[in-house]
C-alpha cells in the first residue's frame, strides 16, 4: 500500500526541501519505489537540490491540467533507479493547481510507487494545504528556534483539520524532524533542546539532524545528502529517520562524530 507523506513546516528555510530529498533518497536506497513531488509552484527548488534541473521537460501543473502524461513528467534519478522526481513549475500561476487535478495525480502516483513524498511550500496558504491534503503521514520539519516552533504548531493544527484524513474523522500520522540542531549550544542552554521542543509540540520524534556543512555541500553539487555524503552525520540521521518511517523501532539519538564524553553527554533517549 502506497504511503503519501507530506514534508511541511510553515516557516521557510528550515530544511523542507533538503529533508524531502534526503528522506526520499534514503527510502529509495533501501529498495522502495519513491517519488518526490515538488508542490512549491513558482519557487521550485527540489529539482535543483536533486540535480535534475536540466532534465525538467514537463511538470506537476502540466500533468494536473492534462497537458502531459504523468510518465512524461516523472524524472528518474540517475544515481538511484528507484527514486523519481515530479518537479513543480517555475513560471505558472500557483492557482493553476486544482484540487481535483491534484487528487487525480495523487491517485495515479499511489498506484506506481511505495512512497509519494510531497515537498510543501512555506506558509499556511492554499499551496501548503494542497500539499498536505492527501497525506497519510506528515513530517514536520522544525528548527530549535522560537518562530519555527510556533509555525510548526500552526501546521500541526492544519494537519488536524484541513486534510482529507481529518475530514474523514481520521488522523494524519505526525512526526517531528528537528533540523539544524546544535547539541553543544543546546547543552549550554543557548538553544531549545530536543526535550523542550517535544514538550511544546507533543508529537513523536522522527529524528534529529545536526547542523552540518555537508548539507550545503550536497546541495551545491545537486545531490541528496544521503547520496552525496552517506556517512556524514546528517545522512546518518536521515537514514535512521527513513527506517523509522518504514516502521522500524529505533532509538533516536543525536548523531555525534566522536565516541567519548561528548557522545555520552548529548545522547538522547527521546
Amino acid at each position: 500500500m502506497a504511503k503519501v507523506l507530506v514534508v511541511t513546516s510553515g516557516k521557510g528555510g528550515v530544511g523542507k526541501t533538503t529533508s524531502t530529498a534526503a528522506l526520499g533518497a534514503a527510502l529509495a536506497q533501501s529498495g522502495q519505489n519513491v517519488v518526490v513531488v515538488d508542490f512549491d509552484v513558482g519557487l521550485r527548488n527540489l529539482d535543483l537540490v536533486m540535480g535534475a534541473e536540466r532534465r525538467v521537460v514537463f511538470d506537476l501543473i502540466n500533468v494536473v491540467q492534462g497537458d502531459a502524461r504523468l510518465s512524461q513528467a516523472l524524472i528518474r534519478d540517475k544515481r538511484c533507479e528507484t527514486l523519481s522526481i515530479l518537479p513543480a513549475s517555475q513560471t505558472r500561476d500557483k492557482d493553476a493547481l486544482t484540487s481535483e487535478g491534484v487528487a487525480r495525480v495523487m491517485d495515479e502516483l499511489r498506484e506506481k510507487f511505495d512512497w509519494v513524498i510531497c515537498d510543501s511550500p512555506a506558509g499556511i496558504e492554499r499551496g501548503a494545504q494542497l500539499a498536505m491534503y492527501h497525506a497519510d503521514m506528515a513530517v514536520i520539519v522544525t528548527n530549535p528556534e522560537v518562530s519555527s516552533v510556533r509555525d510548526s504548531d500552526r501546521i500541526i493544527g492544519l494537519l488536524d483539520s484541513k486534510t482529507q484524513k481529518a475530514e474523514q474523522g481520521e488522523k494524519v500520522e505526525k512526526h517531528l524532524l528537528l533540523t539544524r540542531y546544535d547539541p553543544a549550544r543546546a547543552a549550554r542552554k543557548e538553544m531549545l533542546s530536543v526535550e523542550d521542543v517535544l514538550e511544546i509540540l507533543s508529537i513523536p520524534l522522527l529524528g534529529i539532524v545536526p547542523e552540518s556543512e555537508d548539507v550545503l555541500k550536497s546541495s551545491n553539487v545537486g545531490a541528496p545528502v544521503t547520496l552525496a555524503a552517506p556517512t556524514s552525520l546528517p545522512a546518518r540521521a536521515y537514514f535512521e529517520a527513513a527506517r523509522r518511517l518504514s516502521g522500524e523501532k529505533l532509538e533516536v539519538s543525536v548523531p555525534v562524530e566522536k565516541r567519548g564524553f561528548f557522545d555520552w553527554l548529548f545522547k538522547r533517549d527521546a
Binding site: E145, V146, V149, R150, D153, R154, G157, S161, A186, R188, K189, E190, M191, L192, S193, D196, E199, I200, S202
Partner: protein, 92 residues
C-alpha cells in the same frame, strides 16, 4: 569569577526564556484555533479578573492564564501578580 558566572547565568536562561515565551504564546494561539478551548480561556480570564478586581486592583496584563495540553491530563495555570500593598479596597 563573578564576571564569568554572570555570563554563564545569562546563557543558561535564553533557552528557558524561549520555552516559556512559546508556551504562553501557543496556549493563546491554540485557543484561538479551537473554538471550545478559546471560549473557555476567554471566559475564565474574564471571570477571574472580575473576582480579583472586586478585592484588589490588578493590571489586566499581570494575569496570565495558560493551559498545558498533555496526553493524560491538561494543566490550567493561573498566575496573578498582586501589587505590594493590599488595601482591600478597590482602587480605580
Amino acid at each position: 569569577m563573578s564576571f564569568l558566572s554572570n555570563i554563564f547565568a545569562r546563557r543558561q536562561q535564553s533557552s528557558s526564556v524561549a520555552k516559556d515565551r512559546l508556551q504562553i504564546l501557543l496556549a493563546h494561539e491554540r485557543g484561538a484555533g479551537e473554538a471550545g478551548e478559546s471560549d473557555l480561556i476567554r471566559q475564565l480570564h474574564k471571570e477571574i479578573m472580575e473576582v480579583i478586581a472586586r478585592h484588589v486592583a490588578v493590571d489586566q496584563d499581570k494575569v496570565q492564564i495558560k493551559v498545558d495540553r498533555g496526553s493524560g491530563c491538561s494543566m490550567l495555570e493561573i498566575d496573578v501578580e498582586v501589587p505590594q500593598q493590599l488595601s482591600g479596597k478597590r482602587v480605580s
